[in-house]
């Protein structure tokens, strides 16, 4: 597929930094605090590291600081103290003018999709390439590709308000990934979606992660976190209270609830899966083919 050939060319643009003593961490937080002007504490003394190719869940209730972390990462806010490094680069060293260039190396997906309302699906995705000065040829090649892989080929010329929530989020993911960024942030990507649609989105993110992109997902969708068994970083009132690999949404002592959730999940899943397979399968295969499962 065209995308496969483009991947090597896209990657150097993402400027992976020499690892050095930092190891292979894409994101490094060291003693990061964020206090808003109102005096509210967004994040307090957060220290963690996310390595290249990881898939990480940020969990915690509303107001626990997940979104603040995301905002700090895309440099929408400045840290009050501490250091954030992305690909070894201190975010404080990026001056205002360079922020747009920095953001091009990060795909972002939001709960409310943040699509441009007066552009078609195609143009929304194309815009992400246009800002980086992508040529028309490049756009004509990449955009239909990514839209096909996200299962949106039939919706190219629809406007966002003509799409379902799930479809809009797919557009948003497509836009975030069309540049093949080394890092993809998703802030409550399934917050507005029903469980079935959410699974589709998570599958997309999973596949993007398999293709080598580091993915950070902030969510309070316990179901999803428990099912995926990935690294979980839990926040509470701005503080990191848990960071474990293969984590669950809740800690192990909540056995009963977890058990119930799992039961319900096991009950519901096969039914949902069946309905979805026919349409979903082809897109997934394409995706694997295109971005290659390096692990396999």
């Amino acid at each position: 597929m065209a995308a496969t050939q483009e991947r090597p060319t896209a990657k150097p643009a993402a400027a992976p930094r020499p690892a050095g003593p930092l190891g292979d961490s894409v994101i490094e937080f060291r003693g990061v605090s964020k206090v808003y002007e109102s005096g509210d504490v967004g994040v307090e003394n957060a220290t963690f590291r996310i390595n290249r190719g990881e898939f990480v869940f940020l969990v915690g209730s509303t107001g626990s600081g997940k979104s603040t972390l995301m905002r700090l990462l895309i440099k929408e806010h400045e840290v009050s103290s501490g250091v954030i490094r992305v690909s070894g680069r201190d975010l404080a060293d990026i001056d205002r003018k360079r922020v747009p260039h920095y953001r091009r190396n990060i795909g972002v997906v939001f709960q409310d999709f943040k699509l441009l309302p007066n552009r078609t699906v195609y143009d929304n995705v194309a815009y992400a390439l246009q800002v980086t000065g992508g040529t028309r040829k490049e756009i004509r090649e990449k955009v239909p590709d990514i839209l096909r892989l996200t299962g949106l080929s039939t919706k190219l010329h629809n406007y966002p308000d003509q799409l379902s929530g799930g479809e809009q989020q797919r557009v948003s993911v497509a836009r975030a990934f069309v540049n093949h960024p080394p890092l993809l942030l998703a802030d409550e990507p399934t917050g507005n979606l029903d469980p079935e649609t959410s699974i589709g989105i998570m599958q997309l993110l999973y596949r993007i992660n398999k293709a080598g992109t580091t993915v950070v997902v902030a969510t309070h969708d316990a179901h999803m976190v428990d099912r995926m068994r990935r690294r979980v970083i839990e926040l509470q009132s701005g503080r990191i209270i848990r960071d474990e690999d293969d984590g669950l949404y809740r800690q192990a002592d909540q056995n009963t609830a977890e058990f119930g959730a799992m039961l319900r999940g096991d009950d519901g899943m096969p039914l949902q899966r069946r309905g979805k397979t026919a349409r979903q399968q082809s897109a997934e295969d394409l995706f694997d083919e295109a971005f290659g499962d390096d692990d396999k």
């Binding site: 747009p100 309302p117 980086t132």
Partner: protein, 298 residues
């Protein structure tokens, strides 16, 4: 620069935001119309005021028994040796008599002979310099007595009251005209910038998303600026067309009857159009560019 892309973006957003775009254009049309009417009006009134100012005169009355040689000598004195003189007009006693009798036939029919002297009417180069001319023609000596520079001159006089009235009147006209012009321009700029801000405000979400995708400030700004320029130019052209129609249909027929309208000091129509179009384009471009700054801080 990818100018084609920015142009397409600008056109797209004009199409998709037809109503705010139209409002911004209407604001430009109104502003340019107001300016286009007001600029010539101010110019004509100040022109007229200046003309009145130009009538400030000093009169040099000669002795009634002055000979032709005396007259010539005084004329030379006035034209070449007195500072600040713009023009010198000679009114002979016969001309003066004819003029005055026309104004007041009864009084003059009572007079058997002509009591009026020959007169030179001096126009100063600037109305404010009249005093200096007077001083040159009748220097005041240390004792305070006035001596005339030429024996043929009987008296030198300026119409002091008239002069002061004219000077205050023209000053008032200039000040009020200038004040009104400033107010109007201010109102217009506010109107335009407000309209632009409104239309941008409705698009702040769009700007926010663009920033999140990694668009640089100028990448976002260019289409908006081009849009501003296009709207400004469109509005300007529309207003100028209206002005042109008004001029051809209303002013030109009247101009022959009303010399005020045809005052030579009024800017010619072409220059006016160029200024108005330039101003409308510049203001809308600057307006959109500046108003955008607020929303670019994401």
């Amino acid at each position: 620069m990818n100018l084609g892309f920015f142009f397409r973006e600008a056109l797209r957003s004009m199409k998709r935001n037809a109503v705010p775009s139209f409002a911004a254009m209407a604001a430009v049309v109104v502003t340019v119309l107001v300016l286009g009417i007001f600029i010539p009006v101010v110019q004509t009134t100040t022109g007229a005021a200046n003309e009145v100012r130009g009538r400030v005169l000093a009169n040099v009355y000669l002795q009634t028994k002055a000979t032709d040689a005396d007259i010539e000598r005084v004329r030379r004195l006035l034209t070449s040796e007195t500072p600040h003189v713009k023009t010198v007009e000679f009114v002979s006693k016969e001309q003066a008599y004819a003029q005055e009798r026309k104004k007041n036939p009864e009084a003059y029919s009572l007079l058997g002979s002509n009591p009026l002297p020959d007169t030179f009417r001096i126009t100063p180069d600037d109305p404010d310099n009249v005093a200096q001319i007077l001083n040159a023609l009748q220097p005041t000596s240390a004792s305070g007595a006035k001596t005339l520079v030429d024996p043929a001159i009987a008296e030198v006089k300026d119409k002091k009251d008239d002069r002061e009235k004219i000077l205050t009147a023209t000053r008032v006209i200039k000040l009020t005209g200038g004040g009104l012009a400033i107010l109007l321009v201010l109102a217009s700029v506010l109107l335009i910038s407000n309209t632009i801000r409104l239309s941008l405000f409705s698009r702040r979400r769009e700007v926010e998303v663009m920033k999140l995708v990694g668009a640089t400030d100028w990448f976002i700004r260019w289409p908006f600026m081009i849009e501003g320029v296009l709207l400004g130019a469109l509005g300007g052209i529309l207003a100028v067309l209206l002005l042109g129609v008004t001029k051809v249909a209303l002013l030109d027929p009247l101009a022959t009857d009303l010399p005020l309208l045809a005052a030579p000091e009024t800017m010619n129509f072409g220059t006016l159009i160029a200024i108005l179009l330039g101003a409308s384009v510049a203001v809308s471009a600057a307006g959109s560019g500046l108003s955008l700054r607020r929303f670019l801080r994401v």
